[in-house]
Symmetry: C2
Subunit: 375 residues, 2 copies
């Protein structure tokens, strides 16, 4: 027998999470998650899932019946959109202005589908004119895929305009709302978004591990008209919906019961505050943070017009050691901010104001702690 | 704006979970899960992940460096094995003696690979002689896939013999240990298991949502020698290992931080008890339960020699209404037992004695409550 390792209980400190996610979790969510586990087919649990669905429909502003929380993180949500909707050989216009647009491209390629790239410089939003040109040049394209709020740069793209362009060219839209949901305006039905996914650990301030997902009726039609089976059994939404849908609940996989308690509670907190109030709070906190960062001499990566309130990317000043500075914030202040990702690695910091994390006390702490490490 | 739904906090009762999983969760695990969320790249969290890995290696009895907890349930663990190791056109011998062997077949087919089925009747273990014949008849087969502990029937197959057969015919073995890990003997290295996956919510008595997974060096070689990219980005173990592996932790996806706290604690409980002591406890509790069930006149689906201690499938006596009886157990005793699945739906109950759930008080409650509803 291999011997049992001697391991102590893990007792994490209380960090203040102001990176790109996970964000500060509502205390009520942590408490909800610790409630007793019930069976995934227990009638009480099934009733709670119905509530999660209606709370997700509210957060997405959609009446889509196919609205669920996938039992896996946001990157599985991205994959679920592509793997269910896109068939081998189909053309997908992929907008790439950061890490997550590139990940979309990789998903398309792995499926044997054909990506058409619309590139924008890192830190800029997707360019609707370039998208329109690509749509015109590729009349056989079936999808337009883009990231609403690019977590790697802090740029907000104009999802409303982009989805309208997709529709007018006969394309379905696939939208990454991982960092946008709950933090900035997102209106799935009004804007005509066809497939959208998010993550539990950003502006919903839930623990990480789940991916809210919603398909429009047009997306469901596309799924049902597939010529080939969905290549992934786990992510096949026709099977998932047999469990999440109304009526008889068919076993598909064991739902992550306690994490769904957590999501239920975080969505309840959002509904209690109100979506528009939450969007406003993110803007308000961002403005205070922005003023403070500018006073410290920090420059934003993204122009004001496209700046995400919930993700503030700023260049690291010359002469400051990235890792050492972030380590001091963590060790001395229990404060986590994010490093740069991809092209911005080592060059920028990403300061999150997400969900429950977007509070005055966090902004104040962050500014004071940064002032100290920038001295 | 769509209006916010009015939803109350979800306050589940304390159920006693004696179905096929989720099982009764250790109270220490629920407490661990509620600890403050830290970042998935926080040095303290990364240290905890190293401990999870060594605890998983202990539970699996393996030194495999590629041992991780996937950020999704056991069915994603199954898919991860097939999607990483099996390429289109390759032949896989799939043993089918219940629901989960059939699910393996579906995974193989969706990948464009070729399943060769070895069927055994429901309730019986996989037949090594039939497997050997299939291996001889298919010298071009690359894999042997089977379920160690079939959750749909309660049958235990002889994994040691089957893996030895696979090896002697040049096949890699893919083993479903969802219900076996922690409940019955499983020795990954000694038995030569090449790819094995499990679930957090069975005999580990953690909350549902994670899938422990381990690949042997031979399986890693097969993965690295692939001609085609892994079709799934989310499940691509070459990417996952860049995060779970030693050295620099590369961001792949946001780990389910709090659920990993829970798994860490549940594995710590198992290591504290000792694996062999846990196996013995499952056997001991099973014998007491078996005697009581037989006194109530209930007949087992599986012969004694292949019976899983942690999953007791018994036929529903004639004249007893399945749904009504289970509903009474739930409403009057807060006791959940499982219904039948697949061929056994409506015909059998599945009584779980998994992990923390395998205790004298649970056995006593279950027997007394069953006595009452069978009257």
């Amino acid at each position: 027998m291999l011997a049992a390792p001697q391991v102590s209980a893990f007792l994490p400190p209380r960090r203040i999470l102001m990176g790109p996610g996970p964000s500060d979790v509502y205390p009520e969510v942590l408490a909800a998650q610790a409630r007793p586990t019930v069976g995934h087919l227990d009638p009480l649990f099934v009733g709670m899932m119905d509530e999660v669905k209606s709370l997700l429909q509210y957060a997405f502003q959609t009446a889509n019946p196919m609205t669920v929380a996938l039992s896996a993180p946001g990157s599985a949500g991205m994959e679920a959109c592509f793997v269910n909707l896109v068939e081998p050989g189909e053309k997908v216009i992929v907008c790439r202005n950061g890490v997550f647009g590139e990940r979309m491209r990789q998903n398309v390629v792995r499926l044997g589908a054909v990506p058409v790239l619309v590139d924008s410089p890192w830190g800029q939003p997707v360019d609707p004119d370039a998208v329109e040109s690509a749509l015109k040049a590729n009349p056989d394209a079936r999808f337009l895929a883009f990231v609403h709020a690019e977590t790697s740069t802090g740029a907000l793209s104009d999802a409303k305009t982009l989805c309208a362009l997709a529709k007018s060219h006969g394309c379905l839209s696939i939208v990454d709302a991982v960092t946008s949901l709950g933090g900035v305006e997102l209106r799935v039905d009004e804007w005509g978004v066809d497939a959208v996914y998010s993550g539990s650990q950003k502006c919903l301030s839930c623990v990480p591990g789940l991916s809210p997902l919603s398909f429009s009726p047009a997306a469901v039609d596309k799924l049902q008209a597939r010529q080939s089976p969905v290549p992934s059994w786990f992510l096949d939404q026709t099977l998932v919906m047999a469990y999440w849908g109304g009526g008889k609940r068919s076993y598909h996989h064991t739902a992550p019961v306690n994490t769904l308690y957590a999501l239920h509670e975080s969505l309840r907190q959002l509904a209690g505050e109100g979506l528009e109030a939450a969007w406003q709070r993110h803007r308000d906190m961002h403005l205070i943070l922005r003023d403070g960062l500018e006073k410290l001499g920090l420059k934003f990566v993204v122009d004001a017009a496209a700046r995400l309130p919930q993700l503030n990317a700023v260049y690291i000043p010359e002469g400051i050691d990235d890792a050492a500075a972030r380590n001091r914030l963590l060790q001395e202040y229990n404060l986590e901010i994010g490093g740069g990702l991809g092209d911005l690695a080592g060059k920028a910091w990403r300061i999150g104001l997400m969900g429950y994390g977007a509070r005055r006390e966090n902004v104040a702490l962050c500014l004071k702690a940064l002032e100290s490490v920038l001295k």
